[in-house]
Amino acid sequence: MNSSSPVGEAATPLVFEAVDLKKDFDDGQVQALRGVSFRISENDFIAITGPSGCGKTTLLQLLGGLDRPTAGTLRYRGNSIEDLPDLAAYRAREIGFVFQAFHLLPTFTSFENVQIPMFETDRRPSQRAERALELLKAVGLEHRLNHFPSKLSGGERQRVAIARSLANGPSVLLADEPTGNLDSVSAGLVLDLIARIHQEQQMTVILVTHDMEIARRASTTFLMKDGQFVDGSPQH
């Protein structure tokens, strides 16, 4: 069993705890996760790294409640994610997602894209707009409010996506290869932004990357291969 902090020694509250987590696809023909166990505490900055197809993204999906494990247990703050009464509310309020391909909605401006997750909150339209403006300012895009994604550079799109992921004030940021589609300058800016969010907002960040250089910016690295953590992982 691998863990970022050994059982019984968690100094800060646990955010995620996984025990023998497995995920199969195609009726068991593909075993994406082969029994991984770990603990992630509040304010951790975790990088999950490994070659393509090693199960990084699958793990992120399970953490984000986008998929269900085939076997094993995955808890968020002590509660089994599978048994959460409202998985959509968990995704909306507790988790912020950043994707490699940005996944902004093409028919909405930056300003509107950031407001989209807030429909699942009690915020009034004016409050949603206010919050979106605040977030876009925070990522340095106040001058791109009314631009559609197609009119933004890759780095700008990812910054809009980061602003969107923070819309509902989540406690966990899940980033799947956030710099995968960016040039080195934009990638640096995005990573700096994620690091800043982690520090300023005391947010738990879990970042999936196949780039060891990027992984080194995290406080802990999980190295994966063939659906399992490699011996010695997590690496500090």
Binding site: Q61, G64, A88, A92, T107, E112, I116, A129
Partner: protein
């Protein structure tokens, strides 16, 4: 940004397809407005015509055609002595092709009966007597036939003289050629035949007594039907058929609209599977996705309904102006009908969106990250 903005953006994604779907629904709704409006207007104009003549009970033998079947004029003798009857008027009402009009109402009325009282001369004079080869034309009929006082008018093989232009207080009356019953019977070879008896009851007669009188007339003369004017059209098989046909045709057009919207919304859901997965991934509930799709299809229906109502109204106006039916009908484009048409359109939208919405709710957010 409101939820409505999200819904509108969804529709604006594929403007051409949305536009074409809108046209599809609009045509269906236009058909409802035009066909139902015309059939209702047709009924209404007859009813107003009957009321204008001061008729309380209509005795006729309504068949599946629009005009009643002829029966013996002696029927009048058998019912005229019944209680509460203040006056009677025998008529022969026929839809005929006259000169350049393919369909003209010819209303032949018993000479000097109350059926002539509502006619107000606009120009010329009334016929001198029942045997004069004369006809008066309602104002619309005169326009349609392009006749003035003094002009000849060919009815069947007989040439009559237009002696007056009249206003009858109802579209049916204004669209009719009116002449004496005996003259009409003579020129059409229908001697001794009539097809309608209008009855005016005594002023103090209650509705209950009117209904009782109708029953009594039927008992006395079983071969005809006597109905009060309020029941006259609703009991007519011909009108019921017209009504059923107009609704049936309209609903077929609406069904085509349903399939169009359903196709569009399904395509939308298929095309936007990725987008819907993103929305689910960032926390949107499935119920909100379903609501979004249903609102899009309902909005599409609503807009189609509004455009359809306008198209239908224009179509009716064009139909009204066509020579074949000019002056014969005043379509009922009441707010009620237009409202019903828009409600139907919204229902079309919602019903069409149900399956696509259900389909969208089955999408999984995981595909976003895998993709």
């Amino acid at each position: 940004m409101s939820f409505l903005t999200v819904v509108v953006r969804g529709l604006m994604r594929r403007r051409v397809r949305t536009g074409l779907t809108l046209i599809g629904i609009s045509i269906g709704i236009a058909a409802v407005v035009a066909l139902v409006g015309i059939s209702r207007g047709f009924e209404k104009s007859w009813e107003v015509g009957l009321k204008a003549r001061g008729t309380d009970i209509v005795v006729s033998n309504m068949s599946t055609s629009l005009t009643p079947k002829p029966f013996s004029a002696s029927v009048l003798d058998r019912i005229s002595t019944l209680p509460h009857i203040a006056a009677t008027c025998s008529l022969f009402v026929e839809l005929m092709s006259i000169e350049n009009s393919e369909m003209m109402i010819v209303s032949a009325r018993q000479w000097n009966c109350f059926g002539w009282e509502n006619l107000k001369l606009v120009s010329g004079r009334m016929p001198h007597d029942a045997s004069e080869h004369a006809v008066v034309l309602g104002q619309t009929a005169a326009q349609v036939l392009q006749k003035n006082v003094g002009d000849p008018l060919q009815v069947e093989a007989t040439e009559l003289s237009v002696v007056g232009i009249v206003s009858g207080g109802a579209l049916v009356e204004d669209g009719s050629a009116i002449l004496s019953l005996s003259l009409f019977q003579e020129i059409t070879g229908n001697q001794g035949k009539i097809n309608v008896i209008d009855i005016r009851v005594s002023p103090a007669t209650s509705e209950k007594e009117v209904n009782a009188l109708c029953e009594q007339i039927q008992k006395t003369v079983p071969e005809v039907r006597a109905v009060s004017i309020s029941q006259h059209l609703s009991s007519s098989q011909g009108y019921r058929m017209v009504r059923a046909m107009s609704w049936g045709t309209s609903l077929l057009a609406v069904l085509v609209g349903v399939l169009g919207v359903m196709n569009t919304m399904l395509m939308t859901v298929f095309e936007r599977a990725h987008e819907i997965s993103i929305l689910l991934a960032i926390g949107w509930k499935r119920s909100r996705i379903v609501r979004m799709i249903l609102c899009e299809s309902a909005l599409l229906g609503f807009l189609g309904g509004v455009v359809g109502v306008m198209l239908g109204a224009v179509a009716v106006k064009i139909l009204q102006a066509t020579p074949a039916i000019r002056g014969l009908l005043e379509p009922d484009l009441s707010l009620g009908l237009l409202g019903i048409a828009v409600v139907i359109a919204v229902c079309v939208g919602v019903i069409s969106g149900l399956y696509p919405a259900w389909h969208s709710s089955r999408l999984t957010p995981g595909s976003v990250l895998r993709g």
